[in-house]
Symmetry: C2
Subunit: 180 residues, 2 copies
């Protein structure tokens, strides 16, 4: 029911990922860090890429469950910023690795879920066609996603909140125009 070893593996991996690039982390490193047998790793995970896949997906899930009721574009941004900043070194190392696609996929899905939840509630009962709503969701999802990517490409040197503030402003003005 409670798989502490599995959790320990993930924690060790996240810890190591906060220290160095993914390419410099081996299965051996992970199992030695949490003092378990190497076979135990393979009992729980297919291989290292599978661990990456689960880790990234799980972190995104945590983010979503942590903010069940996003009720503004600002809160929406805060949620994403929170996750990215909390493990910014790990995020950086995953992004600049062969697993970039895994990260981008989950980030896109995560942004999509949050934005979609918020916008669907926002437009409930208002005169908008499903197609228009979907397009709106896609637009804002991509804006959200792109802001993170842009920030990562810039070496995370800029204030990510800045990117999001601009995105939020655009979203708000766009929404207000729609609602008129």
């Amino acid at each position: 029911m409670a798989n502490f070893t599995r959790r320990a593996i993930k924690e060790a991996f996240l810890k190591l990922l906060n220290q160095r690039p993914l390419s410099q982390i081996t299965v051996k490193d992970i199992v030695e860090d949490c003092g378990i047998n190497r076979n135990s790793f393979y009992y729980h995970f297919e291989d290292l890429p599978a661990l990456v896949e689960e880790m990234v997906g799980e972190q995104m899930q945590n983010l979503i469950q942590k903010h069940p009721t996003v009720s503004s574009v600002e809160e929406c941004a805060d949620a994403v910023i929170e996750l990215v900043m909390e493990n910014r070194r790990a995020v950086y190392h995953i992004y600049n690795s062969l697993s970039r696609d895994v990260f981008e996929r989950h980030l896109m899905d995560g942004c999509g879920y949050i934005v979609s939840t918020y916008l669907k509630a926002e437009f409930a009962g208002k005169p908008i066609t499903p197609a228009d709503l979907d397009a709106l969701i896609r637009l804002h999802k991509c804006a959200c996603f792109g802001s993170v990517i842009d920030w990562l490409n810039g070496g995370m040197k800029d204030d990510i909140a800045d990117y999001f503030r601009r995105v939020c402003a655009l979203q708000k003005s766009g929404l207000e125009r729609l609602e008129r």
Copy 2:
């Protein structure tokens, strides 16, 4: 090699102990908190008192290993204060329970170890008889121990650092007199 369940039990117990009195914590509460089977608890620990015994002893060990080289009465006091304050609610609940004796025994031993290590190094090569040194250690050990007890009896309302500052002053003046 790595027993995560055992650790999880201790963490859950410490967490609960920071929330409510020992008398209101059952084995069931603990296993439910970390989502394991009740039998798994009994696999690792004889019963709840055994868990208390190990927990308290372990915390004291952590404290000692965290401060391997105490080189002044102040540092000695800081070490003890650190442990007590970090889990002050848990300490309070253990102290005000049927396991008070367990806590006092380990606290006394812990104070003894730290004080002894420090004083033996301090008086190395100086003219003092082993009997006098032992008496000195016992005196300071008890002063250290008693300060914590006194603070706990006062409902932890006062600043524990105050108690220790006074103890430290006495220790220092006593030591200086001896060294002259």
